[in-house]
């Protein structure tokens, strides 16, 4: 489940921002000859519904049905009492309750005489939901993932501003960590607390406790921290997800170098295009690239690897999180930063 603040903040993501997204999706639905698009959500696969409504479930799951016209409908098995909370944090859709949300979707589709329904990630839709829809209406189902990805791939100002804000939360939170901590939990506890006090709706922390031996990140509080270690913060704030990885050392000489590298990444990264082009990646002088990958919102996934050394980027993304691993002066460094946030072609295209 989510563990933090979920609130409607008109100054950060306005009704008009969300309405503009809904209209773009409705135009694409009409252009594709569909009667509507159905998007599934739970707190793991929240990104599609969050983008189209600003809502993220705290627990449980639901569906959003977007028809060619009108307000989207959030269909949920959650109680009407919980529905009041849902409405208070997402005044962007109608909330409809049923122990069988799929059946209710079928009824709503029948009401408008729907014949063709697109489903984002049809293969992943819970089978019970599909059965419920088809039990009411023999509608033709098709996969609408590509349609949704194309609409979703256009960035908007509200989202990019939220990405910047969320990354700032991460950057500030890392300052609460004590690099001389003996165990991972001693470092990460104050960091996570700081993230949550800043009003994040979620924070996952993972650690690579000894970078000289292993670059893989695990959830651990008990492992001893080595000479150089890395911490990954995955933060959700107002529906936007950001990852930030920093490498740390208690050795002051190394720490100074890491700090300088981090500052340079902060300066260079936001303007990098999130287009998966290796040539654009910033690396400090003398650094040798070991590995990289690019993550971005994709379908119902808040962040998913969309490009790496072997896989080119297949479709435009609204923003990206670039993770690089490299060696510099004999030390292994891992870093993640948001990219595609400003000055780049995607932003200009969106505006």
């Amino acid at each position: 489940m989510r563990h933090g603040l979920i609130q409607w903040r008109e100054n950060e993501l306005s009704l008009a921002d969300v309405k503009a997204r809904q209209v773009r999706l409705q135009q694409a639905i009409a252009a594709a000859g569909l009667d509507g698009v159905l998007i599934y959500t739970n707190h793991v696969r929240s990104a599609g519904v969050t983008w189209v409504s600003g809502f993220t479930p705290y627990w449980s799951d639901g569906l959003v049905l977007v028809l060619r016209e009108g307000l989207p409908i959030f269909l949920t098995a959650l109680s009407k009492r919980v529905g009041e909370w849902v409405k208070s944090v997402a005044p962007t859709f109608e909330v409809a309750h049923s122990p069988f949300p799929g059946k209710l979707a079928g009824e709503r589709l029948a009401k408008v005489g729907a014949k063709r329904l697109g489903v984002v990630e049809l293969d992943r839709m819970p089978g019970g939901v599909v059965d419920e829809i088809l039990s009411v209406l023999p509608v033709e189902l098709s996969d609408a993932t590509e349609l949704f990805t194309n609409v979703r791939g256009q960035a908007d100002r509200a989202e990019l501003d939220l990405v910047r804000h969320t990354d700032n939360i991460a950057r500030e939170a890392f300052k609460a960590g004590d690099v001389t901590s003996k165990f991972a939990g001693d470092f990460t506890g104050p960091v996570e607390r700081t993230v949550r006090l800043a009003g994040a709706e979620e924070c996952y922390v993972a650690v690579a406790p000894d970078l000289s031996r292993d670059r893989r990140f695990i959830r651990t509080g008990k492992d001893a921290l080595s000479r150089t270690f890395a911490v990954r913060l995955s933060i959700a704030y107002n529906g936007v997800w950001v990852r930030r990885i920093e490498t740390f050392s208690a050795v002051s000489e190394i720490a100074a170098r890491l700090s300088s590298v981090g500052a340079e990444l902060d300066r260079a990264s936001p303007a990098l295009p999130a287009d998966g082009s290796v040539s654009a990646f910033y690396l400090p002088d003398g650094a040798k690239l070991i590995d990289w990958h690019l993550e971005a919102p994709h379908g119902t996934r808040p962040l998913k690897v969309v490009a790496d050394a072997e896989m080119p980027l297949a479709a435009p993304v609204p923003y990206g999180i670039l993770t690089t691993a490299f060696t510099l002066d004999g030390e292994t460094i891992v870093a993640s930063r948001p990219i595609g946030l400003g000055g780049g072609s995607i932003r200009e295209a969106a505006e």
């Binding site: 489940m1 563990h3 696969r45 019970g128 949550r196 959830r219």
Partner: protein
């Protein structure tokens, strides 16, 4: 170790049911089936575990970062990362041919998996796995006991952090930070702040604690995959007469429910014992679905598992189950109120796990947030 015992029980159940394979789905919300087989606490993306009758377990994940973590955190399980999760697992199942394969949980099983199975169809594994999830082994019950200790400690942190002027999400930040430091993987937690206008608990809304508020919460820490819950209510400042009186009713209802728990009774018997107390006080309306969801529920690898404690649920309570009994509901005088304790069902009755005193806690109105 627990993972090995679970796997053995799963294979025995498959053998008894004459199954050749099992396909179990999971994500961070509904992780119990997946974790039972593969012992991995998935956080991002989705996973499928394929179990064959010869004891081979393979964990398929669609998230690279999670695949990396699984390789380190549960090296004994074979892990495969597949962007096309459905296609990959469908291919594996196809190679098993025309054998008897069950899948679950039925409601969450991805549509594409069933569609690609076509006419061969999956049998429904839901009942088979639900039974294993409900009636636990000795090792699992010990894990549940460990989680209970942290539920109590977590509530003490919550109580100590509550102060006038503090925001609800700041209170939760303290708990989450404490739990993470203690190795708690997850925590199901909702909260209510206020008076008669509060009709239920919800995620934090940014409410600021003030004198006179009731602060309700259910904390549900998860240790090694097992959840235990505690429900308590505290008052900011001295409780008033109405709050004290209402607390007495809820405490009587909790004790009445607990008193009934033993092997052989039904979930309905427990719910009825709780609800009769409310009815005796003329509050019968408030034990209906308009005001409350359940009067308790099972606990284990999912924070809200079967059996649901309701007057129309006739699941027989068995030794080895872990439950919470909580007569949580709205009260028209003072607002939503919660009170509940977790337990293990033993042959001679309930072993109460949570040890936080059953009292209406109060926090000094002069305790102000820094």
């Amino acid at each position: 170790m627990i993972g090995e015992i679970r796997k053995k029980r799963l294979l025995e159940a498959m053998l008894e049911a004459g199954l050749d394979g099992l396909v179990l789905y999971g994500n961070a919300w509904q992780n119990d089936y997946l974790r039972y087989a593969a012992d991995f606490g998935i956080l991002e993306g989705e996973g499928l575990a394929v179990v064959t009758r010869d004891g081979d377990v393979t964990l398929y994940l669609d998230d690279e970062l999670e695949g990396e973590r699984a390789a380190v955190e549960c090296p004994e399980v074979k892990t495969v990362v597949a962007d096309d999760l459905i296609g990959t697992v469908s291919g594996v199942i196809a190679r098993l041919g025309n054998s008897r394969i069950a899948a679950g949980p039925k409601r969450h099983l991805p549509y594409g998996l069933a569609a690609q199975r076509g006419d061969l169809r999956f049998e429904d594994a839901t009942a088979l796995v639900d039974r294993l999830l409900m009636v636990k082994s000795a090792g699992e019950l010990n894990a549940v006991r460990s989680a209970a200790r942290l539920a109590d400690e977590g509530y003490a942190v919550f109580r100590n952090a509550a102060a006038v002027g503090k925001k609800d999400y700041e209170l939760i930040a303290e708990i989450e930070s404490f739990f993470r430091n203690e190795g708690v993987d997850d925590n199901f937690m909702i909260i209510g702040v206020g008076g008669p206008e509060v009709r239920g608990m919800a995620p934090p809304l940014g409410k600021i604690l003030k004198p006179g508020d009731l602060v309700t919460t259910e904390l549900t820490p998860c240790v090694n995959g097992y959840y235990v819950q505690i429900c308590r209510t505290l008052v900011i400042g001295e409780p008033n007469e109405a709050q004290r009186k209402v607390f007495g009713i809820y405490n009587d209802a909790l004790e009445a429910g607990l008193a009934v728990v033993k092997p052989g009774v039904t979930a309905a018997d427990i719910a009825r014992a709780e609800n009769d107390i409310f009815r005796a006080h003329g509050l019968g309306e408030y034990v209906t679905s308009e005001y409350t969801r359940v009067r308790g529920h099972g606990l284990g690898l999912f924070p809200d598992t079967k059996p649901h404690i309701l007057e129309d649920v006739n699941t027989v309570i068995e030794e080895g189950m872990s439950l919470i009994v909580h007569p949580n509901t709205y009260n028209p005088e003072i607002g939503y109120f919660v009170h509940g304790d977790s337990l293990i069902v033993r042959a001679d009755g309930p072993e109460i796990l949570t040890t936080t005193p059953r009292e209406l806690f109060s926090v000094g109105a002069r305790r102000v947030a820094a």
